[in-house]
């Protein structure tokens, strides 16, 4: 694919293993500025590890992840690349000890040193963007349903207006209707913010709503990448089988 799109995030020959077992085996991937990349793949193929290397949560054994051409330094929470990222975790990962609004406003209060009153106002505004009301902000995460939890976590991811958003299995554990609502919410917010988004999922409905670009990871490598329009006619049968939900390659 040769075009003038600017690479925002690049994984370059990234290797990562755990306890001698390789998970990423020379992963090469690019996410383009202002576009939504969805990485698909089966369980245990290295999707979450891929995101965690870009967040600096895991250090590659070799290779490098770059954001805006700067290498991500693992464990450096003050890196410029990491500080422009919003992340939606699979489980939501809201802090149990804080009310929802304070979860949403966490980065504003503790990293950006915004006054609590203003941070609360901005948190409630962000909750409004994900269709949650101000009363929800005063509840504890344990009082929320799965769908509300995902929305609140989404509000936390977008409140500081990041220009990169990561979504780790955004619809896992949700019923189809709620999953569809979350997918459309993500799609709308990413486009409205003009952010670069990287999502990992094995939910094909999610991929079709969120993606501009699609890449498939298999055994720690990217085996196919293209646009959403191309995914159904991919020249790799493993991609078509995954998208169609087939366990065996097509005959003939």
């Amino acid at each position: 694919m040769t075009d003038d799109r600017k690479v925002k995030i690049a994984w370059k020959d990234v290797h990562k293993g755990f306890g001698g077992k390789p998970v990423l085996r020379g992963l090469d991937l690019e996410a383009y500025e202002g576009r939504s990349l969805v990485v698909i793949g089966g369980s245990g193929t290295g999707k979450s590890v891929t995101i965690k290397t870009a967040l600096g949560l895991l250090a590659p054994d070799s290779g490098v992840v770059e954001i805006d051409g700067q290498a991500v330094r693992p464990g450096r929470i003050d890196d410029p690349g990491v500080s422009q990222i919003g992340m939606l975790f699979q489980s939501g990962a809201l802090f149990d000890s804080l009310p929802v609004w304070e979860n949403v406003a966490f980065r504003l209060i503790h990293s950006e040193k915004v006054a609590r009153k203003e941070a609360k106002d901005r948190a409630i505004e962000a909750l409004g963007q994900v269709d949650l009301d101000a009363d929800t902000g005063n509840k504890r995460p344990s009082e929320l349903s799965g769908g509300m939890l995902k929305r609140a976590a989404l509000a936390r991811a977008i409140v500081a207006k990041p220009n990169i958003l990561f979504f780790d299995e955004p619809t896992t554990g949700l019923d189809p209707i709620t999953a569809d609502v979350i997918n459309r919410l993500i799609s709308r917010l990413v486009r409205k913010m003009g952010a670069t988004a990287v999502s990992i999922t094995h939910d094909m409905a999610s991929m079709r709503i969120i993606a501009d670009d699609v890449a498939m990871i298999h055994e720690g490598r990217i085996i196919w990448k293209g646009t959403l329009d191309q995914v159904d006619t991919a020249d790799d049968d493993r991609v078509r089988a995954f998208v169609e939900g087939r366990s065996e390659p097509a005959e003939g």
């Binding site: 965690k52 975790f89 699979q90 489980s91 980065r107 503790h110």
Partner: protein, 255 residues
Amino acid sequence: MNPLRVIGRGVLALLQSVGAIAIFAGRAVLGVVRPPFFPGQLMGQIMQIGFLSLPVVGLTALFTGAALALNIYTGGARFNAESFVPNIVALGIVRELGPVIAALMLAGRVSSGIAAEIGAMRATEQIDALKTLSTDPMRYLIAPRVLAGVITLPILVLIADIVGIYGGFVVGVNSLGFDPSVYVRNTWDILERWDVISGLIKAAVFGFLLTLMGCYHGYHAQGGAEGVGRAATHAVVSAAVLIFAANFLLTSLFV
């Protein structure tokens, strides 16, 4: 397998653990002294570790002081030294039993609680979430807990000392026939300032160790609910062993 290799592996694993704990402790101390600070977190932990531990520490100290008085009276009677009950209860509580028993109770209550809480945060990706929100977990989670342990343990031990001596006093006066004013005067006369201060220094060290163990094992918990349970167990056991070891070392220094 070659027995030397087995021993070598064990020694290496032990040294690796000691090194990892030392590095973790160093990072925790850095988090205490270098900004950003999280005073809200610190106050919450002082409440959790200190104030909410008062009943268990107080009750333990009360019964320990009472039992100590009975034992010393029985033992002392064998060589006509019953009158030393107030002196030995006071010294025993202030120099040894107050700090050690309070710390052991807190190892059970606080170390396991911290390990379970932080372990659950690890399992549910909340620690990763902190990092993505540009907040250092060492400063936000670990440093306030360790500092709260160092601050609150001496206060708890001071209270335990008073309550423990009172337990001995109640038994001494009501069961052993001591005159109340003589009991109080003997207690007051035997105690020196250093007795109290050395006990409080021990308490601060124990507070550091027991919160550090809770944090360390919770922070490195792996494997979901089972891993969290394992972390809590390891936290209590390692905190208790370190408390006894540190108590011996400090007592050697202080006598």
